[in-house]
């Protein structure tokens, strides 16, 4: 099976069923199938070869999904490009994996012309009507009418192998230079089917698309949904930044399944006043991943949405979801951490200590994953590097007596301060546990721990935060510096941006970290 074939049976059996709803256009299964084929013919006519990479540079929409399907049906590999990405980063990605063809929304074309059109991209296929652009003769801009006039008949498949590359997801390497995670049809389907079975996804479901397409959470929204003949409801970028607009969308569209970072859910609880507005009775499944869900917020979410099952899904992009945990009930007040669960999607999970020996129950070690979701490898600096097997996730975990895994943070977030090993995530969890703190991140500055926290209660003081930590953590883990700020910087996928936070602490950049207490300036640990 290949993911571009998932749609066709429903196009034949339930052609009028909605496949993609919004934000500005609704596509039925028949329309999505036809548009996917038109894109495939157009790309083929532009010279796309089997195995080539095709950029998809569109806001989340039915046309973007049709373009991905079309690229696959033309035998190519799709590469979702972030509509919010700066031109230089787009160019780095295009050069890295030699993209010659980009399907693009006309307003985004300026991103490419701004950085100069010389480069690997030769063909831009527009996803809507637009005035002709003035481009050099080496660049071909194909009007939307070329797509709509193309045949809607299915192309003969170039391959049946599920082990071929289906898509590349570019993530920031620790160096800041993006590298492409190579995922096959088999990789995707191992998760897609597992997740759809888990919640018995069916044609009546309406699944939110909240995550950007270049972020792997979207693999569920897109392919699990389409594999069961259900509807994808686009929750667009302008909606995702507003708690109240997200609540509007869920209630108005009667969304049944939701998969996002915890931050989006907390935004609905707080700014969106989800409880006061009567919750979201249609919602029956909530998946969260990407960062730790502070227990106090998870408890509120589960109490606000009593009709929904909650799942903690875990795994780096390189393994998609490799462990999962269904939260059985709102966690009681004495619960400090939610497990990441046990191996999912046919994978096996092994915990190894620093010597490479299996860790005993309760002992913290690195999580290694083997199985069908482990990526093919990296597309990095123009080269393909196969994945290590089993795959070292870089995540530190321990196994509880009942077999469920607990997360202890990233291996590279393990720092040494005054000779003590400190897991930054553990300090963050402790601070976030404070009822007056919305979110917090801990960085190392001048060899000291510095917590950067966003209070939900303006009365919370630095002394409160330190006292709270002192009651929960060993002395060496209490942050020496505490900055109370209005907001934390975020990445394009909505996670807290650790790198920018650390840089802003280092440079005392108050445009990034706006302080709550004006003039609050920490001296060093030195006596004077």
């Amino acid at each position: 099976m290949r993911i571009d074939r998932l749609v066709s049976p429903f196009a034949a059996q339930t052609p009028d069923q909605v496949a993609v709803d919004g934000p500005t256009e609704t596509l039925t299964y028949a329309e999505l199938e036809a548009l996917a084929n038109r894109f495939a013919h157009t790309l083929r006519a532009c010279g796309v070869q089997p195995g080539e990479r095709v950029g998809v540079h569109l806001p989340r929409s039915g046309r973007a999904i049709a373009a991905m399907l079309g690229a696959l049906r033309a035998g190519a590999v799709y590469v979702p490009l972030d509509p919010g990405s700066p031109p230089t980063r787009l160019k780095l990605i295009a050069q890295d994996c030699a993209i010659r063809h980009v399907v693009i929304a006309p307003p985004l074309f300026a991103n490419w012309s701004a950085s100069g059109l010389e480069g690997p991209v030769e063909h831009f296929i527009l996803s809507a009507d637009a005035a002709a652009a003035d481009v050099p003769s080496t660049i071909h801009v194909h009007a939307w009418s070329e797509v709509t006039r193309a045949s809607d008949a299915a192309l003969a498949p170039t391959s049946d192998s599920p082990d071929e590359l289906a898509y590349l997801l570019y993530t920031s390497g620790s160096t800041g230079i993006p590298k492409g995670v190579m995922l096959s049809h088999r990789n995707a389907l191992a998760f897609v089917d597992w997740a759809a079975d888990l919640i018995a996804l069916g044609p009546k479901d309406r699944v939110a698309s909240v995550a950007p397409f270049h972020f792997d959470l979207s693999v569920f929204d897109l392919w699990s949904t389409l594999s069961r003949g259900a509807a994808i409801v686009i929750v667009d970028e302008a909606t995702v930044i507003s708690g109240s607009r997200m609540v509007d969308r869920i209630r108005e569209k009667e969304i049944t399944a939701w998969y996002s970072v915890p931050t989006a859910i907390v935004l609905m609880l707080d700014a969106g006043k989800l409880y006061a507005r009567g919750g979201a009775p249609s919602l029956r499944s909530v998946f969260f991943a990407g960062e730790v869900f502070p227990v106090k917020h998870l408890r509120r979410a589960m109490e606000t949405l009593p009709g929904a099952r909650f799942f903690n899904l875990f795994g780096p992009t390189e393994t998609n979801v490799c462990t999962a945990y269904e939260v059985p009930a709102p966690p009681s007040a004495d619960v400090t951490a939610i497990p990441i669960g046990h191996a999912s999607c046919g994978d096996t999970a092994t915990i190894l200590d620093p010597e490479g020996k299996p860790a005993a129950d309760g002992e913290v070690g690195e999580l290694f994953i083997e199985g069908p979701t482990v990526m093919l490898g990296y597309w990095d600096a123009g080269k393909r590097t196969p994945a290590k097997h089993p795959y070292p996730t870089g995540d530190m975990v321990s196994r509880r007596a009942d077999g469920e895994l607990l997360y202890h943070g990233r291996r590279d977030h393990m720092v040494k301060v005054h000779g003590f090993r400190v897991e930054l995530g553990e300090v963050e969890v402790a601070i976030q546990d404070h009822p007056g703190i919305r979110e917090a991140i801990v960085v190392v500055h001048d060899q000291e721990l510095v917590a950067v926290a966003v209070p939900s209660d303006p009365a919370v003081s630095v002394l409160d935060v330190k006292r709270h930590c002192a009651a929960r953590l060993p002395k060496y883990m209490i942050p020496f510096g505490v900055r109370l700020v209005r907001a934390l910087p975020r990445t394009s996928s909505g996670k807290i941006d650790r790198v920018r936070t650390a840089a802003a602490v280092r440079e005392d950049d108050r445009s990034v970290l706006a302080p709550i207490v004006a003039g609050g300036e920490s001296a060093g640990r030195g006596a004077t």
């Binding site: 003081s461 002394l463 930590c469 505490v482 006596a527």
Partner: protein, 84 residues
Amino acid sequence: MSQVKAAIREYIVSTWLSGDERGLTDDTDLQESGLLDSLTTLSLISFLEETFKIQLDPADIHAEAFRTLDAIVTLVSQKTSLKA
């Protein structure tokens, strides 16, 4: 507030509380509040010795002597009066 107390308070607020003085009182327990550990105690001692030109003996350096702002002020007063 005495000058001694003001100076020590200023040190605690700027060094340990990132400039945020809210909640700090004369009898705030500095250990229970997570402000004092072995390293911060050492820095505090050198601050007190330099600022008030005093010498603290090992006998002076025990947990109770540094537990609160008031306790530190008392310790410094004893030392400065001895010197005078």
